[in-house]
């Protein structure tokens, strides 16, 4: 019921609170800086350290693969952090302040209320990754030469899926409680568990972390696809949202 009105409000809130701008600027900045850091790290080491000249002889010359690795490391680390920070208070805060009770006494469905929040964050991250990806691609092109644009698109698509896993699970944590701090703590716990699971043999193949491995391969033109990890990540997104909707529909406000 009235998903459109709820989505409009969420997007407006993200604009007014500068959350959309901050996410876009932070991720675009890392998109810009990653190829530069990859390209000039040996030079920085050479100039900054006393035995820098000797150390740089041991480091292979920087390549587009280093730029891709740097980009993925920065975008995923800061992207997850932003996903947690932006989603942890979305429901908890509205329940705590009483705005959820006011709005949900009207013909606004609880699932629509939640899905609008997820979709607004999904749009913010999509826009931010488009900008970051364009910046990263351009600087990699300038500093290292051309990359496969299809591979780069695929890489960024997988990064988006990876980040949406954390948006969805943090939204679920935010639905569980009235405290955004507790929701943030729970989401951090989920993040740590998923990171640990990713390191386990066998079961780790299904970890969202493997999606980033596939993204890295796409960026450098090698390695097979990680379909189980992608399927599990999509299932986590859908499952997190479905769980949040079921829980929220049972809660009293």
């Amino acid at each position: 019921m009235n998903f459109g009105a709820a989505l409009r409000k969420e997007l407006l809130e993200q604009l007014r609170s500068y959350r959309m701008l901050i996410t876009a600027v932070v991720l675009t900045l890392f998109g810009l800086l990653s190829p530069i850091i990859a390209r000039y790290t040996p030079d920085i080491i050479r100039l900054a350290l006393p035995q820098g000249e000797e150390i740089t002889k041991l480091i292979p010359p920087p390549s587009a693969a280093d730029s891709v690795a740097q980009y993925l490391k920065n975008i995923t680390q800061f992207g997850v952090l932003l996903a947690l920070l932006m989603a942890m208070g979305l429901v908890a805060q509205e329940k705590d302040k009483g705005t959820a009770a006011l709005m949900l006494s009207k013909p606004l469905g609880r699932s629509a209320f939640l899905l609008a929040k997820f979709c607004s964050l999904a749009l913010t991250f999509t826009l931010s990754i488009v900008l970051a990806g364009a910046a990263g691609y351009y600087y990699t092109l300038v500093l290292f030469g051309p990359m496969d644009p299809g591979g780069w698109l695929g890489l960024n698509g997988l990064v988006l899926v990876f980040l949406l896993v954390y948006v969805s699970l943090t939204l679920l944590c935010s639905t569980l409680t009235k405290s955004q701090v507790l929701a943030g703590g729970l989401a951090t716990g989920v993040w740590m568990i998923l990171s640990l699971v990713g390191a386990l043999p066998g079961i780790g193949d299904y970890s969202p972390r493997q999606v980033i491995g596939w993204a890295a391969a796409l960026g450098t033109g090698g390695s097979p696809a990680q379909w189980p990890a992608l399927a599990f990540s999509l299932a986590l997104i859908v499952g997190g949202l479905a769980g949040a909707c079921v829980l929220f529909n049972r809660q009293e406000l």
Partner: protein
């Protein structure tokens, strides 16, 4: 036609029974005062009616729609709701908030704009229409609260303690506004401020510990249940002496006295069960008191007197 019907509604929080077999019915078009002491279950009943809380038993209907059953959310389009402490998005302006509520109700653009303008005027927020709600005072938020509750021209308006945070001017304005809605929609208004309910409501329901004590047209209630009431006023500066005397009387009341309360710092009201005994003995008591008496009279009983008597009777009975 019945607009609000509640039958055997039950709700518990742990061992505490917030609603204990509550039943009542409110005629369409009336202004219903839902009275009760703090913690009586008023807010819980309203939250169940709005679909924000679930009942543990019983049923409730709004305009014939069972809000306790599946599909009860259909009633949401017919109601306006003002919570006890209305909360808004602080980054929105008052105009944007009303527009957002209009969108949620699915009003078309033109109607939304005209409704927003009309409600800003009605609530006295025209000049603050472009200001962020985060900077509003409590009274302004309360007025915005009533405005948002009226966006959809509700058939039933549920108001939870609507005037509790308003100053005397704001309170008068809001009560006048509610009075003006008589006949246009059904107003279901909870309050523990009896003077406000007495002023604006035509029907009253008194609830205590989750159960309905009485429901009746206000006029009938006053005639049927009002016991004789006496009022005694003390001279200025005698506040403490009056209070000490009243406390002493409460500790050991004579058999003809039901209750004694301080209507204000200088006025005591006596609810009695024997008019003759009170007429004989109350003046003696007053004259032997330590405070300086400035006035003593028999007065018309108020809704507050009826409320105190009924709640006391019920508690004594249970």
């Amino acid at each position: 036609m019945i607009a609000v019907r509640i039958e055997g509604l039950r709700k518990s929080f742990g061992r505490v029974k917030a609603l204990d077999d509550l039943s009542l019915a409110v005629e369409a078009g009336s202004v219903f005062g839902f009275l009760g002491p703090n913690g009586a279950g008023k807010t819980t009943a309203i939250r169940i009616l709005t679909g924000l809380a679930r009942a543990h038993g019983g049923q409730a209907w709004l305009n014939g729609i069972d809000v306790t059953a599946r599909g009860g959310r259909r009633a949401a389009s017919q109601i306006g709701y003002l919570p006890q402490d209305p909360a808004f998005y602080p980054w929105m302006t008052a105009g944007e908030m009303l527009d957002h509520v209009g969108r949620v109700f699915g009003l078309p653009g033109g109607e939304r704009r005209s409704r927003t303008a009309a409600l800003l005027k009605l609530s006295g927020l025209e000049e603050a229409a472009r200001r962020r709600i985060g900077g509003f005072s409590g009274g302004m938020k309360q007025r915005l609260g009533i405005a948002q509750a009226l966006v959809n021209r509700p058939a039933i308006l549920l108001l939870d303690e609507p005037v509790s945070s308003l100053d005397p001017f704001g309170r008068k304005e809001l009560l006048d506004l509610i009075d003006g809605l008589r006949g246009q929609c059904t107003v279901f208004m909870s309050s523990h401020i009896l003077a406000d309910v007495e002023r604006v409501c035509d029907t009253v329901g008194i609830i205590d510990r989750g159960r309905l004590v009485v429901q009746s047209p206000k006029k009938d209630l006053l005639e049927q249940f009002a016991a004789p009431v006496f009022e005694a006023a003390a001279d200025r500066g005698q506040e403490e002496a009056l209070k000490a005397w009243v406390d002493g009387l409460k500790a050991g009341p004579p058999p003809w006295l039901d209750s004694v309360v301080l209507a204000d710092e200088l006025t005591a009201r006596f609810l009695v069960n024997s008019l003759e005994a009170a007429k004989r003995q109350l003046p003696e008591l007053l004259l032997s008191s330590s405070f300086v008496l400035s006035r003593y009279e028999m007065v018309r009983p108020s809704l507050e007197d009826v409320f105190l008597k009924l709640v006391k009777q019920r508690r004594a009975g249970s």
